[in-house]
Symmetry: C2
Subunit: 211 residues, 2 copies
């Protein structure tokens, strides 16, 4: 059966996004050119500009796609779900080009001065705060722990962890161990004791595959 | 009294380093040129290459100078000293060009692939682990807290905090409040209760001046 025009348009948009992620991941924002993205996607300039107004809008779409590379892999709830976000994230950072490009762009953009540069961080904070609200309702958090404040803390920490890890080796080989260490240090101070002991933090809890 | 030749050499080296910090801070590693650094320092190429072999060596010297912009301002010991490092750091990041350039280069260098990219992080970990060894000897830390592990955690967190803060606003206006929030979340889990209550975390504890 022939694909509909709309279906082809969705596929073209996805091919352009994947190509953009690959080029941004390899060359960064400044080094990426629209012509290389077109060549890699096998698309025309007309179809690219139909979907994205500019290189900045393409970069923004790649940054915004970060949660889509992680959230579908989650099955747990409450505090375990928050831990699982970080475990899937550190796996996917090695497998998923779109996530790696999104993280690189988010780190770089402070330098190239994109408008609303904090948006990708804020989006992660909103997702994690939502998960922590559920954890609080389930009685998993210690009294006085503010979901939004803790979510901000986790986003700050994950940002720094992946950067230090990438400075150590380009494949971020020690990132899973850093994630485990973070939770070992944090859990006793944020979770009620009965929950803290049953949260699983093994990095091999997930074996997600590339998108 | 005429300055000695050695004194003039030290002054030239410092002028070149300050100029390099200003240019790196403004334009990043890729955008900085030796000719602009020379122009700003009012120095000759011969004197620059006498002190520094390459742009990379200049960048490394700027990154390595980070602790010098902070450690001289400290007077406390133990856990309070660790807290004070982070309080002075978030003040100085707004005042001290050399520190700001060092932080920018450290963040960027993963991208431009400098050898031994983790060294500036490792140096901070060593400084903080040393301070935490003293805290442990003074009985300030809870049992099971590993000085090196906690020092790594603080460096990871400060890295992410300043990046998120810089994405929010280029002058990192909310960084002092982020530092306070970090300690409010961490102290109950790492310090013994009698110490946790007397650690001061007010951001206005220090008013250091530019170097």
């Amino acid at each position: 059966m022939a694909r509909s025009k709309q279906q082809r348009s969705v596929e073209t948009r996805e091919a352009i996004l994947r190509a953009a992620a690959a080029v941004f991941e390899e060359s960064g924002y400044a080094g990426a050119s629209i012509s290389r993205i077109l060549q890699r996607a096998g698309a025309t300039a007309g179809s690219l500009y139909f979907h994205f107004k500019s290189k900045e809008e393409l970069a923004r779409a790649v940054m915004t796609a970060q949660p889509e590379t992680i959230v579908p892999h989650l099955a747990s709830e409450g505090l375990q779900r928050l831990v699982d976000i970080t475990l899937v994230w550190c796996h996917q950072l090695r497998l998923d080009l779109t996530l790696r490009a999104g993280v690189r762009l988010t780190t770089e953009q402070t330098t190239f001065g994109m408008a609303d540069a904090a948006a990708p961080y804020d989006e992660w904070v909103a997702i994690m705060a939502d998960v922590l609200e559920t954890a609080a309702e389930r009685g998993e958090l210690q009294p006085g722990i503010d979901p939004k404040g803790l979510a901000t803390f986790i986003v700050e920490h994950c940002t720094g962890m992946q950067l230090y890890s990438a400075a150590r080796s380009s494949d971020r080989a020690d990132l899973p161990q850093r994630v485990v260490s973070m939770w070992q240090l944090l859990l006793p101070g944020i979770a009620v004791p009965t929950v803290a002991v049953r949260i699983e933090t093994r990095p091999d809890r997930f074996h997600p595959t590339a998108a």
